[in-house]
Symmetry: C3
Subunit: 222 residues, 3 copies
């Protein structure tokens, strides 16, 4: 690959992370507003939703600097986005925003999981670990958002394929690497498949099979 | 110590981590089922319960690779275990499984805490830090499981000796090191004591003294 | 600066961290008692509240050893403090303790956030990242305390200026560095401003502007 192509790929990867980040931040803001958090809570939950997944991936892979340290302007961008959204968003916009966010969020799922897997593969991680790192990158922001807001993470209980789409899609990146295909092809195939699967799931309203063997709640300790 | 003995010790340590891991994963599955999580939630909570403690210990000690990166096949084993358990477990099996799991879990408590303490001692950590690392290794998986499931961690509120057993047992490892006893002896004494104390606590239904000075709940902020 | 001054600064910084740590630990104990946690829970929540913020900062900055590893006696001090407090504190002392803790806590807010920012600046972090690290140092202990106790972190929802004071104050440290002022001056100005702002907020009972655009709770997934 020429250095020009590497530059473009790296630029594309950055662009991708930025777009996904905005959709994730917005999902954090909506949740924070629903829980009536204050100003600090809105910024914090939006930031966690946006940067939490990539940050945990980098901690696990012992990788520095974080995206938001290397590109610190994005912290300013997040502050600005939250402030503008707080001034502009009214409760009647919420449902609309939520539906409008579904698609960039699906894009983010594809792009984040693919880039996370790529990073782990480049560090010689085993295939299943690389795939897991991709899923973590895409999913953990939302998990932390929900934990801070005192909810069971929706990705663990809404029975909609989300993490599953990324889990399937990112294997194409592993396959591409095994076949010595160029990086951009693997990234595009993985991200594309994930986004397509997620789109299909949204469109068909598909539910994951439930495992509900236990009708009785846990007994509380006395 | 001969290289043969080192090999055996390291093999034993791996075997120990594997056994404990299975018991912890099962506790995660039961909790996930009680909370009616979906497929992804069951895998995630089982994984957190199984690998969360050791992973946090390694992050704190800045130690890589993680157990589940070095032995990535165990991620497949976890996926397989969860899938089989989901196909086979019915709600009427739950109470039985919970009781059956108590003993391998006690074994896990002893083995994980001892191996965690040993690792920290090998890195020249102070004694109290090494003991704390042992307790974290054994206990944090269950803590993360409960936090994700939106419960106060049961290890912090069920008034049964659990972390306390590991806290006491692992000091034997510190003692063994101070006396220049061989590693395997310290490990065996620490793990054995912890398992015995936990067994005793289960058998006698002992409760920790309660500290309940406050009859009134906290006032919520307006 | 002479080596003597450096010594004093470093001694002052340690002293500061110790004082703040005690106030934070006490806030953890009170919360643990309110939730009726057992012995282990009281120690754990007090420890998280005391050391959680600095530890997360050090994990993010990839910095070792942690404060509580380098000064492991402080783990003993925490154990002792908790034990004494559990023996001495009665429920009628709670409200008094809570009010008495507000001022050392404000001191801790100023000192922790300033020292956290200083550490990040010394590692050549961008200004906004350094300020964020300062806020994380001061605030995350309380966040973890509340998450473990199954509450939405009060710092994210009580509409009182807390993180905001530290956010403003720590910028003075960035300014001092840009002006090549000595470290102690920047630290004093930042910590002093933060404490003053927090004191002003407590005294005037000021509330942050609310963003409550949504009167309806989120629909639960079926």
């Amino acid at each position: 690959m020429t250095s020009h192509a590497i530059l473009n790929l790296s630029f594309l990867q950055t662009l991708v992370e930025v777009l996904a980040t905005l959709a994730f931040a917005l999902s954090g803001m909506l949740e924070a507003a629903r829980k009536r958090l204050d100003l600090v809570g809105v910024y914090a939950v939006a930031g966690l939703a946006a940067f939490g997944g990539g940050t945990l991936r980098d901690i696990l892979l012992d990788r520095r600097p974080f995206f938001w340290v290397e590109h610190a302007t994005w912290l300013w961008a997040l502050l600005a986005l939250c402030t503008v959204a707080m001034l502009g968003l009214r409760s009647r916009h919420f449902e609309l925003t939520e539906r409008a966010v579904l698609w960039p969020d699906a894009l983010g799922l594809g792009l984040f999981s693919a880039s996370g897997t790529q990073i782990a593969l480049n560090m010689q991680m085993p295939a299943i670990v690389a795939v897991l790192m991709g899923v973590i990158t895409a999913v953990v922001g939302g998990v932390l958002r929900d934990i801070v807001c005192n909810e069971i993470p929706s990705v663990f209980r809404d029975h909609r394929p989300y993490a599953v789409c990324a889990f399937i899609g990112t294997w194409l990146l592993v396959l591409a690497q095994a076949l010595n295909a160029p990086d951009w092809l693997g990234l595009a195939a993985a991200a594309g498949t994930t986004v397509m699967l997620r789109g299909l799931a949204l469109w068909s309203d598909y539910r994951l099979p439930a495992w509900n063997p236990d009708p009785s709640p846990r007994r509380k300790p006395e």
